[in-house]
Amino acid sequence: MGIPEIEDAGCLLCFGYNGADSHPIVARRIVRGKQKGMKIICADPRVTETARISDIHLQLKGGSNLALVNAMANVIWNEGLADTRFIEEHTKGFDEFLKVIEKYTPEYAEPITHIPADEIRRAARMYATTKPAMILYGMGVCQFTQAVDVVKGLANLALMTGNFGGPSMGIGPVRGQNNVQGACDMGALPNSYPGYQNVTVPEIREKFEKAWGVPLSDQVGCPITHVPHRILHEKDEKKRIHAYYIFGEDPAQSDPDLAEVREALDKCDFVVMQDIYMNKTGLYADVILPATAWGENEGIYTCADRGFQRVRKLIEPEGDMRPDWKIIADISTAMGYPMNYRNTEEIWNEMIDLCPSFTGATYEKIEKYGGVQWPCRDKSMEDRGTPYLHKDGIFATKDHKALFYGTDWHPPVELENDQYPMTLSTVREVGHYSVRTMTGNCRTLRNLEDEPGWVQMNTQDCEKMRLKKGELVKILSKRGYCITRCLPTDRVKPGATYMTYQWWIGACNELTTAKLDPISNTPEYKYCACRVEKIQDQEWAERHVRELYDDIRAQMGIDTGKGAEA
């Protein structure tokens, strides 16, 4: 499937994905689809912009994803809505899967998900009977300790209804960051070389050793979310991390449990930060390497739909900065492995020749067609890539059959309790992207929203605590606290709070938990227990926030001549 096909789906199941805030340009496709008559089912604990225009809004309790997905599968099977021919011809493991979902009747799922059983039935029927049906899922699926299981659960729904291998169907991960797909494609993962070639397979390792002329490790590397532990608590001296080279990332803002991250960065012997502006991680760096921004770079991004796209330079960078690839080449050369690329195309050509599934995606082809979706194996202009990964129900397994994979739901790790009676989930807001390194420096976006950000709370909860819109509040978890503004809204359910993670003052990652999904190693950003406290002296709080902001800006060397608006 491709992003443009969204608007031609018969039915869209939008699961834990808030397009309007994360990707307004994808949200545009959803809005257009609605205008064309597409049915929308939106599973989200908040009334998002997509939920607002949906035909069915499944406003589930946070952390109950798999119970809902399994219950929808249960209904589809028990009401005879499954595509039995597709299951028989193209899949394996269905009987074992049935055993798992047997108990997930809508009545069983109702108290877990807080969605009436009949609403689950209605949604399952709509998804199974409206063709073609597409699934989009976002961080509301991925940022849980039970994340990969839910992705597989959603794939089960698409499999059992035969929604694979054609236009406007299938299951689409809409990524958390731009070019996450590209980073994974290029092997920025602990277990693979570019093109998803496993580091533990000897033939693959030998191929890369020969191409690069150096011996390579046959061990899986360290996931980014394990780094703090490997710096602070690793007993084996050989495995302990002493140096941390970070670029285009701000773990001191974006990683969970910031107190632990700060301790790790502090204890780490050597930290290198490579970014376009100063950020919180930079405060712990021994060396800062200034890099160019998007308009000053060229290269290739991969879109969420596996499409390679060219990125072109708009302006020449001014001052003492270089593109990331040049910095990497220089560091490598200085460390004894000379890299002498003249441009990004040379790097790209070396890479595609080592990756069978990317070999055909030349600059020329991407230029000519505007984009190429991998796999694209042949350099001839006739091979235009692969819009449908599982075309005609042929899957990328040895016997070309898809595997059903059923698991039981389990609750999130840290549940509400007496001391911390509410839940916190981190979310996005449309104006500010990621850790605000870019958009926090964009003046009109800063005019719309600035420090210390907001905590979204249900109006009833606010009334109980006598909190008004804009009032500064303290929000705490077992791990830390921050100060932010209260935003009463009926778009969220009582007992739940939501904060965006980019603010330096209202830094919700002070509160989040570093518990991980066992397969993806992604933290449970979407669920932890918290408490909101009223601040009686608002004047003090306003002053305090302004001081904190000025202090951070001063530490970062930002000119505060005119003073900051907190």
């Binding site: 309007a20 225009i53 449309v430 009109t444």
Partner: protein
């Protein structure tokens, strides 16, 4: 007839690009070159979000504007299909703000101008349909989902024609239920 900009909540994704487009159109591109704290950010329309609704709200450019009627300074007038405020004449009395039934007027600081007590001058602020600016209302042009429309006499006429046609068809259906 006065024109007005209308938002469609079925298309709006609440992104507020319209508000930024509005400020850039009125302040001029120089705001990208000056100190970020030295210009005033005064959008002339406001995003409203309720539990199930997102849509920007702005001046309706009424045919008999309550704001114009109450303005003691004669600062509000009708010009080329829209109601505009002359900020030089505006004395900041807030009567228009009070009179407007849509909450479309707010008070804003005028950068670089000062009032009697030495503080920056505050004036009434509302949508002027980008009066005097090329290309028509900026909010309509920048909206990524085309959720905003400039409603002109002609467009309104076409819509009314269409609605009358539908009404006539419905009347026919009501009297001929078997067809």
């Amino acid at each position: 007839m006065n024109y007005f900009v209308k938002g469609n909540p079925d298309l709006c994704i609440g992104c507020r690009t319209c508000m930024i487009g509005c400020v850039v159109a009125h302040e001029g591109k120089h705001i990208f070159e000056v100190d970020p704290d030295s210009y005033s950010f005064n959008p002339k329309l406001h995003m409203v979000k309720t539990a199930r609704l997102s849509v920007p709200v702005q001046c309706k450019h009424c045919e008999n504007p309550a704001c114009m009627a109450v303005c003691p300074a004669g600062a509000i007038s009708q010009k080329d299909h829209c109601i505009v405020i002359d900020t030089d004449k505006c004395m900041g009395c807030k009567s228009c703000m009070d009179a407007c039934p849509f909450g479309a007027i707010n008070m804003t600081v005028q950068t670089g101008k000062f009032q009697a007590d030495g503080s920056e001058k505050k004036v009434a602020n509302k949508c002027d349909l980008c009066y005097g600016l090329p290309g028509g209302p900026a909010c309509v042009r920048v909206c990524p989902t085309e959720a905003l429309t400039l409603v002109t006499e002609e467009k309104l006429g076409e819509a009314m024609e269409h609605k009358r046609m539908e009404a006539a068809r419905n009347t026919y259906r009501e009297t001929h239920p078997q067809e």
